[in-house]
């Protein structure tokens, strides 16, 4: 089938729109000036979204230090400072009577004011279950999906003695506990055991000395009465539907809703200044990770693609995914680029980090440099060498975070499956990961190392090397990390949120095309035609076709007989590919990506790939 041979602009959107999608719903309430804040642990970020000429666009951004801790002890002071900066930058007024005013009066204020929060360490939860890989894992999924940080998982088979569990619970002081376990009609005794461990630990909430710790019980309903008898006098117990009523069915929605409700009613209400902030916002305050999750899900639904989004920070790395309409989130609490850089070294090993560095550096020197970053985490790379080292660390942190994610984002474990004779040879045990890199359509990266990489091509290459997508995958970065604010807006005005997300939030890096198969280095594995250009891709090679942001091109891809770009081995693919700051990257390096063992050869290959991608500082773009 002939394909169009020219590239064309795609209406200024960094992502192509699904055919027929409409982002100007008639049912949308009239809100032409929206202020949204995200109260983070260190910084409160405010954005202004305005409706101009019928479209919603980002109109400004301000930030200020978060003021939830002493000496301020009032989150609203930071909010007013951040919105104040927004006022200065946009020459508009949103604050009146020391609050963000809604609705607008005398041209002062906003039509809608919304906020998210992860200040004070976010929502910290302890989860319990009976079996680690079954109900405890389901409980973990429920808590993470609700935006919590899971600080520990207690289960009957976690390998600890009761007194160790008690000591651990005492030391962690969670904001909330989620208890699960027992399918309907299943075990009761193990749940009573866990209740008594909680009773002995007498856990105290992190915030608010005088309020009782909320405990959500979402396990076997038969145990409710006895659990209430044991724990009723010491904690605030809330009974919810069983989150794993049957081995082959999860029911996470009610537990997640309860977590969100209690987050607002108990945890937020205890945090300094939130009682005041809750009266300013036009919708409930959402935890920051939950809001990001909402945005990722909206993007996946609207674009009809599987999405993987990552936020790599100084201390933690969050991954959100939607595969086949199933949403998952994980937090790798000790993988990050500054405070946690020592942990990346400990978990990945110096050798694994070193393999990504295209310069000759010994492990001893590498270790010292990473440790010096650990003890002075706010420093930034000034030399190319230091930049390449930090980007190597990012590859390993992202790779490990994806491994954590793939383990939790899985089908239900422990489910009996009907097995055929063929299964006897494949040892299928259930619980396979949902993460399918060939099905994945879009990767979104955020966090300083990705969003502020000196060259966008460097961000694209880090995502490619760490996540190893397969087939055809679009790559993007979140420009200023406004996914939280857009996530909370998505609940009120989904079309507005999606419009700003696509136009102002995401910076398109481009499209990766990765044929999958095995071949000798140098063999032709793909014939391609993209726009007016055409060529061949050889095994072990990386090519970049510069297609600008906002442009899409017709493409025809013909993989070699044993290679697949998503249609099956040797099957031709035609369609549109989307440009971006890094253009279209043809990656023939194979999966899994293996680097030469010989140092000289490894450095030569790395430099070749980095230069082909236009990602070498000082080199050609």
């Amino acid at each position: 089938m002939p394909i169009e041979s020219e590239c064309r602009p795609s209406a200024g959107h960094p992502l192509t729109l699904k055919k027929g999608a409409c982002y100007h719903s008639a049912a949308m309430p009239e809100a032409s000036r929206i202020v949204a804040t995200d109260c983070g642990s260190t910084t409160t970020k405010a954005i202004l979204i305005e409706k101009r000429d019928g479209s919603y666009r980002l109109a400004g951004r301000g930030e200020a230090p978060t003021t939830v801790e002493a000496p301020f002890d009032d989150v609203t002071a930071g909010v007013l400072n951040a919105v104040g900066e927004l006022e200065d930058l946009t020459d508009q007024q949103f604050i009146a009577d020391r609050r963000v005013r809604t609705p607008i009066a005398n041209d002062v204020g906003a039509d809608l004011y919304l906020s998210t929060s992860s200040a004070g360490g976010g929502l910290q939860m302890l989860v319990t279950g009976v079996v680690k890989t079954m109900t405890a894992e389901s409980a973990q999924r429920a808590a993470l999906g609700a935006g919590a940080i899971v600080i520990d998982v207690i289960s009957v088979d976690d390998g600890r003695a009761d007194h160790e569990r008690v000591a651990r619970i005492r030391s962690i002081r969670p904001d909330m506990i989620l208890m699960s376990g027992g399918t309907e009609g299943g075990t009761v005794q193990h749940l009573l055991d866990t209740s008594e461990i909680l009773l002995a630990a007498a856990p105290r909430p992190r915030l608010g000395r005088d309020f009782r710790l909320p405990v959500i019980y979402a396990g076997n309903s038969e145990a409710r009465e006895q659990i209430g008898t044991i724990l009723g006098d010491s904690v605030d117990i809330i009974f919810e539907e069983n989150l794993r009523p049957q081995l082959d069915r999860e029911n996470l929605g009610p537990a997640r809703e309860a977590i969100h409700r209690l987050f607002l009613e108990h945890v937020m209400a205890q945090a300094p200044g939130y009682d005041k902030l809750l009266t300013w916002t036009n919708a409930p305050i959402m935890s920051t990770p939950r809001a990001v999750g909402e945005m990722v899900q909206l993007a996946a639904r609207t674009e009809e693609v599987d999405v993987l989004a990552v936020d790599i920070g100084g201390a933690t790395t969050d991954i959100f995914s939607v595969f086949g309409e199933r949403f998952n989130r994980t937090v790798s609490a000790n993988l990050g680029m500054s405070y946690s850089i020592g942990n990346v070294l400990a978990e990945a090993s110096a050798a694994s980090i070193r393999r990504w560095i295209p310069i000759d550096i010994d492990e001893d020197e590498l270790r010292n440099r990473l440790r010096n970053k650990m003890i002075r985490p706010t420093t930034i790379p000034q030399t190319v060498e230091d930049l390449l080292i930090e980007q190597a660390v990012a590859r390993e942190a992202l790779r490990l975070a994806l491994i954590h994610h793939a383990a939790l984002a899985s089908g239900l474990k422990g489910v009996q499956q009907a097995r055929t004779m063929a299964d006897l040879f494949t040892q299928v045990s259930g619980g396979e990961t949902l993460v399918d890199m060939m099905a994945l359509g879009l990767i979104i990266g955020s966090g300083g190392i990705l969003s502020h990489a000196p060259r966008r091509q460097q961000a694209a290459l880090m995502l490619l090397d760490a996540f190893e997508p397969q087939g055809i995958t679009r790559l993007a970065v979140d420009s200023i990390f406004m996914m939280p604010q857009l996530g909370v807006l998505a609940h009120e005005l989904p079309d507005a949120a999606m419009e700003v997300f696509k136009r102002d939030c995401l910076i398109a890096l481009g499209t990766a095309i990765v044929p999958i198969g095995r071949s000798k280095e140098g063999a032709v594995i793909l014939e391609w035609r993209i726009g007016e250009e055409s060529g061949e891709l050889r095994a072990g090679e990386l090519q970049r076709i510069p297609i600008a942001t906002g442009e899409t091109c017709q493409a025809e891809l013909i993989p070699a007989r044993r290679f697949d770009v998503g249609q099956g081995k040797g099957q031709r693919w035609t369609g549109e590919v989307v440009g971006g700051a890094a253009g279209v990257i043809l990656d023939g390096r194979g999966r899994p990506l293996e680097l030469p063992h010989d140092d000289v050869e490894r450095i030569r290959k790395l430099r070749e790939w980095i230069e082909a991608a236009g990602a070498m500082p000082g080199g050609p773009q």
Partner: protein, 372 residues
């Protein structure tokens, strides 16, 4: 005039120091407000409850949980000995009885008719908090501890491992830029050794063998730290390591000369009793390791609050990242505009005149202010 926040570390011969000495649990405070204390004075002590063990009594006795109460031979609060029978079923006509023996010595905490469990608590452990620094009790924290105030020299390090220890300072390196060699380590039982630029595995082993309680040095290679601990440090929250000697780095990792000012102050204090603590926390509520030497300094104490936070032309600074890592200099300009650096990033910079006369642009984030 441009300013920036750049925290530095304290190195001062005379500081007003206030330290909280607090039990991890409620207990008894043994000092009074205004009392003079030595470093070894016991400030507070408490009994930490022993570990709690749950015994599945009903299951072991093959009875329903509700029946457990009638089988129990002990009451909550009673002491039990390991091996002692603590519950027994009535059996059939006095025969076929089942008995439950206490698996450990402790106190019977409670009996649950819901779960059928008996819980026994191990004997309590004593926890003590010493003054750690000599001074005066300034404030009592009722039932928990006290605040001690004193005047003395304070040296903050950048990173440490190991907890609180006390010993006399002993200078064993020949200068701030000289490494400490194993063969120089002698006669330092109970001492805090001050090395120079760096130590290797052999010098660390020699210090431990010689009975030193602490080692303060400019830098170590990460490999040396890994060998000393036996593992790689993950998150930079330290102080609880099970090591025979507290190790404090004043500059960082690799081979870095100890700052001259730090070296000179520690040299001046040689022979005096130092209270050291390797506890470090890089994130949220930063804690740095420290060396405190209390004494009768004639210098006026400086109140130790937040370090100087303003970077201005004329500020004395140290560069804390390559390519000039460790170099000292003075800020000459703070350009308002962003400047492109070698990595192609555009950042806020300071122009620094190094002590060797060169003038170099440095990202402001890579500067540490030196207190003068």
């Amino acid at each position: 005039m441009g300013v920036a926040y750049t925290p530095g570390l304290r190195v001062t011969p005379s500081a007003a120091i206030r330290r909280e000495r607090r039990l991890p649990t409620d207990g008894n405070v043994l000092v009074d407000r205004g009392q003079k204390v030595h470093a070894e004075t016991l400030i507070a002590q408490a009994e930490m409850p022993g570990n709690l063990h749950a015994i599945r009594a009903a299951q072991i006795l093959h009875i329903d949980p509700q029946e457990l109460q009638s089988c129990i031979l002990k009451q909550p609060g009673d002491a039990v000995e390991a091996g002692e029978i603590i519950a027994e079923t009535k059996g059939l006509w006095g025969l076929f009885k089942s008995a439950l023996r206490a698996p450990l010595t402790g106190t019977l905490e409670d009996i649950s008719g819901v779960s059928g469990h008996i819980r026994i608590r191990e004997k309590p452990r004593q926890v003590k908090v010493l003054a750690h620094i000599a001074g005066t009790v300034a404030e009592i924290i009722e039932g928990e501890g006290a605040f001690i105030e004193t005047q003395g020299a304070l040296v903050q390090g950048i990173f440490g491992v190991g907890g609180e220890r006390r010993g006399r300072l002993r200078i064993l390196a020949s200068g701030p830029d000289a490494p400490l060699h194993a063969d120089a380590v002698e006669d330092c039982e109970g001492c805090v050794i001050v090395g120079g630029a760096t130590v290797d595995d052999r010098a660390v082993e020699a210090a431990v063998r010689a009975g030193a309680v602490g080692l303060v040095v400019g830098a170590v290679r990460d490999e040396v730290l890994r060998h000393y601990l036996g593992y790689d440090i993950g998150v930079a929250i330290t102080g609880q390591e099970d090591v025979p000697m507290t190790l404090i780095l004043t500059e960082g990792f690799g081979e870095l000369a100890m700052a001259t000012r730090t070296w000179q102050l520690l040299s001046k204090l040689e022979g005096q009793l130092a209270s050291i603590d390797g506890a470090t926390q890089i994130r949220a509520g930063v804690i740095r390791p420290e060396v405190v030497v209390t004494g009768d300094s004639e210098e006026t104490p400086i109140s130790v609050g937040e370090p100087e936070q303003t970077l201005e032309p004329g500020s004395r600074v140290r560069i804390i990242r390559a390519p000039h890592f460790g170099a000292l200099g003075r800020v000459t300009r703070l350009p308002v505009q962003l400047a492109e650096i070698e990595t192609e990033s555009s950042v806020r910079i300071a122009v620094v005149k190094l002590d060797d006369g060169d003038e170099v642009p440095v990202p402001r984030a890579n500067l540490e202010i030196i207190q003068e």
